[in-house]
């Protein structure tokens, strides 16, 4: 074959190869166009989802510089656009902010088990955020962390809790008023008794005073007669007769008792009114120093009159206990809920007067322990794990809301970093143990409860 023929053949091959390459490139161009189209559609769709999401969605880098900020976030924080700003500026400076905003991953993503690509999503936390420049509000934030090719990006979902907090506060207040309402009948009786004897005493004093008034008139006449040097024998006889009529000796003996008894009755009524007032006052958002022993005595005073026929109460309160820094109104409500639960259980299952409740307080390391032992029927093993669940109740429909012990759990564990658990024996009797740390940390770690069946 000549060189020319060989070159011609080579040229034909090259030309065919070029055409094949051009055809391939056209196909690839179309593929790239279609892929770009799909990506654009996907990006538009993703952007629309992010922009119209009900929750705020914010992404930021490891320095906290905000990369994206959706419309809900703009509404929630009342900022037009926070892109380029520091995410930290959207929240009130608190100890827990940094660890919530920049979580460390504990687990690598299963599909990317190398150190280059990792992702993790953490449990939501509550932070105090800033609306505009000067309005703080509670926000629930869930942060996920994603690292790809050594670039870390955080994505935050933000939910404004303002409405929920208001509803919770209203629900809490409603529950409290419900409890107060339930106790009102018993309290009316409790107030009625002293009012009754106070009234009797005052009637007695009124009648006695009318009698004494006549005697005092004679004494006045006697004084005038003596002053003017007139004979007074008749007046003295009159005084003697009148003294016998009014039974002066008896009155002198009875007056102090009647007055003292009335004052005590008034004090009892005032005490009951004071306790009711403490229980019905709106819950404060700020914590204050609370004497738990006094809180228990108040709760017993409010609840016991309703169950006086049911059970006797014994207290062993450690008088050296340090005060606890807590939400006083909510702790009061917890104590009332625990006591009411115990009394109701004993009322249903014990003969009148045979119920026994023992309340003890003691210091346990850095916490204060409160124990409530009753001799009620106990809690069956199959439900003891659920008694702190919201809406769980063993009472018939309409009798119980299932919120009492759930409220206790929320306040003790979630709001005060404490613990609460119940123990029960098959033979009956329940012990509820509450532990409250004396120094409460600002960011509760969510310690859990555990229940035991002995």
């Amino acid at each position: 074959m000549s060189s020319l023929e060989l070159l011609q053949r080579r040229y034909d091959r090259e030309r065919a190869a070029r055409k094949a390459a051009e055809s391939l490139l056209e196909g690839k161009s179309l593929e790239v166009f279609q892929a770009n189209q799909k990506l654009r559609d996907l990006a538009d769709q993703t952007k629309a989802i992010v922009e119209t999401a009900a929750e705020g969605i914010i992404s930021y880098d490891r320095d906290g510089i905000i990369r994206s900020f959706n419309r809900s976030a703009e509404r929630t924080f009342r900022i037009q656009s926070a892109i380029g700003k520091d995410i930290r500026h959207l929240f009130l400076p608190q100890d827990s902010v940094e660890s919530v905003l920049f979580p460390m991953c504990l687990k690598l993503d299963v599909e990317h088990e190398d150190t280059v690509n990792e992702s993790c999503v953490l449990e939501p936390s509550e932070l105090v955020a800033m609306r505009g420049t000067d309005t703080p509000f509670f926000a629930e934030v869930a942060v996920s962390r994603n690292t790809r090719d050594n670039v870390t990006l955080f994505t935050m979902l933000v939910r404004d809790l303002t409405s929920r907090k208001k509803l919770e506060a209203r629900l809490g207040q409603a529950q409290k008023m419900e409890s107060v309402g339930q106790l009102a009948a018993g309290i009316a009786h409790e107030i009625n008794t002293p009012i009754q004897f106070i009234g009797d005493n005052i009637k007695f004093l009124q009648g006695a005073f009318e009698d004494l008034n006549a005697l005092l008139d004679v004494f006045q006449e006697l004084a005038e007669a003596v002053a003017k040097g007139r004979p007074a024998d008749g007046l003295l006889q009159q005084i003697s007769r009148q003294s016998e009529i009014v039974d002066l000796q008896f009155l002198r003996m009875e007056f102090p008792g009647a007055i003292q008894q009335s004052l005590e009755g008034i004090e009892r009524v005032a005490g009951i009114v004071r306790t009711m007032k403490e229980f019905s006052q709106p819950a404060s958002e700020s914590k204050s120093s609370v004497d738990l022993n006094r809180a228990i005595e108040n709760a017993l005073a409010v609840s016991l009159n309703q169950y006086r026929e049911v059970a006797t109460v014994e207290t062993a309160l450690d008088t050296t206990l340090a005060p606890v820094f807590c939400l006083s109104a909510q702790i009061n409500q917890c104590l009332l809920n625990i006591l009411t639960n115990a009394f109701e259980a004993m009322a249903e299952h014990c003969e009148p007067g045979t119920g026994r409740l023992r309340v003890t307080t003691r210091r346990d390391g850095e916490s204060i322990e409160l124990r409530f032992d009753d001799n009620g029927p106990g809690i069956p093993a199959n439900i003891i794990q659920r008694i702190f669940d919201p809406f769980f109740t063993t009472k018939e429909v309409g009798k119980g809301t299932g919120q009492g012990l759930a409220f206790v759990y929320d306040v003790i564990v979630d709001k005060h970093d404490g613990t609460v658990h119940a123990q029960s024996s098959p033979g009956g009797g329940t012990t509820v143990v509450v532990s409250l740390p004396i120094a409460i940390s600002p960011a509760p770690s969510g310690r859990t409860h555990a229940n035991f069946v002995g």
């Binding site: 074959m1 060189s3 060989l6 190869a17 391939l24």
Partner: protein, 193 residues
């Protein structure tokens, strides 16, 4: 198999043996497209085997020798076409582990459907073992590439090959022993029984 392997084979033959041998190789192989390969295309690897067999018939050179030589040629071409892969590397012992972890990753960016062989590397006391596994019987090509790599870096390294599996060129282990390690070793490298 990527078209660059075919175009480079034809170029190597044209360059080293002349345009006529290349034409006879293509004619003898009876491939679908009569040798009209493009570097960006993808072709059946069986066509490469037919081309090499045809070349062997034309030249009388055994197929393994031709494939190894082609491996050396390919390495030189890769070095010329993709110098960025070689920057900052001073030894075959450092370069070969990057074939799988870096170069193949880059190849997949351009050709997501590329069916690439596996080059599992293990460094033990200065000695590097490279285990080649592929659905295609090109252990000879891998050997040519590895030998050219050692020569390129002017490494004083002994390369020992053990065929694995069915001994049909789809699996092989290459042990690269630097001479300073060889001096310390009492046991010579041997293939598993």
């Amino acid at each position: 198999m990527k078209g660059i392997v075919f175009t480079e084979l034809i170029e190597m033959v044209e360059q080293d043996l002349g345009i006529e041998i290349a034409d006879r190789m293509i004619t003898g192989a009876k491939t679908k497209n009569d040798g009209a390969y493009t570097a960006v295309g993808t072709y059946d690897h069986a066509e490469l085997i037919r081309l090499v067999n045809s070349l062997s018939k034309e030249t009388g050179i055994p197929v393994p020798t031709l494939v190894k030589t082609f491996g050396r040629h390919l390495f030189a071409r890769f070095n010329a076409l993709y110098p960025q892969f070689f920057q900052g590397i001073n030894s075959a012992v450092d370069f070969l582990p990057m074939v799988q972890t870096y170069i193949h990753v880059e190849v997949r960016k351009l050709y997501p459907d590329a069916e690439l062989p596996s080059f599992a590397c293990e460094l033990n006391a200065g000695e590097l073992s490279v285990t080649y596994r592929s659905t295609r019987p090109f252990a000879d090509l891998a050997e040519g590439l590895i030998l050219a790599c050692v020569e390129y870096f002017r490494d004083s390294i002994d390369v020992h090959r053990c065929d694995l599996g069915k001994q049909n060129g789809t699996e092989a282990c290459f042990t690269l022993t630097p001479t300073w390690v060889r001096g310390l070793s009492v046991e010579p490298v041997s293939c598993p029984a």
